[in-house]
Symmetry: C2
Subunit: 115 residues, 2 copies
DNA sequence: CTAGGTATTTAGTAATGCTAAGTATACAGC
DNA sequence: GCTGTATACTTAGCATTACTAAATACCTAG
């Protein structure tokens, strides 16, 4: 029953984290999948069908932009994403929202209400 | 654009918080609306149509139970919710999941990756 | 030439918060 | 009495977003 909670908690957070990672370093989908998985002990072990739509949303919103990289060597072509100025601004706003959100939620656990 | 983020972040959290509040003190829908609003500076200022379905889900899942309180004084009847044993166990598991989730997300912000 | 790793795309489903409207009781002010 | 406001619960329908599953395509190793 609590697997559902973990799934729902990701809503919004995933897009926020993808923006964060792209802001830190231009990258492409497949690498993001690995970075998210490795950096989260499997919590963010996404299937491709979860990640790519997030990238398309971010691009539609003008927060990231992409260019095709014709395979270095002879590898499959990659779509390299990098952050736009608007993306970097949004990144900061989102991090603030996350910090405030955490604080608010935690206040309900800490708040010494009746038991 | 970032209003959407705050909205999405609530997914899962709302049900978790309602369970927490009911575990602390048997209560009813309308009072929960006020407690959530007042305890969050408006972040959890829900409409009834958001809260009541959460209560029904928690009850369907056997985590809380309800009884009708025929209006004290002459007020409208209230549906009083209280936590079940399973609800109290779930409450603890969910709080742990929340703590771990926060930690994982924060690690992506703190993690000194490339800039 | 088959298997597996790399890399992207898309269709369809499920969960959950949102808006909006409706029902009903009690009380205060005109 | 009538109107508005506060209390209190219910329901229908929509939007967003993560999930599964499958398809496409290239390259390397055996």
């Amino acid at each position: 029953m609590e697997d559902r909670l973990a799934q729902q908690l990701k809503k919004g957070v995933l897009e926020m984290l993808v923006l964060e990672l792209v802001c830190r370093k231009a990258t492409y989908g497949y690498e993001l999948l690995q970075r998210l998985k490795e950096g989260s002990e499997g919590l963010f072990q996404l299937k491709e069908g979860t990640l790519y739509p997030i990238l398309y949303r971010l691009e539609d919103d003008g927060l990231i932009e992409s260019r095709w990289s014709q395979g270095e060597g002879r590898a499959a072509p990659k779509k390299i994403y990098s952050a736009t100025d608007r993306g970097r601004q949004a990144r900061l706003r989102r991090q603030l929202i996350w910090v405030e959100f955490k604080k608010t939620v935690d206040s309900f656990y800490e708040g010494g209400n009746e038991s």
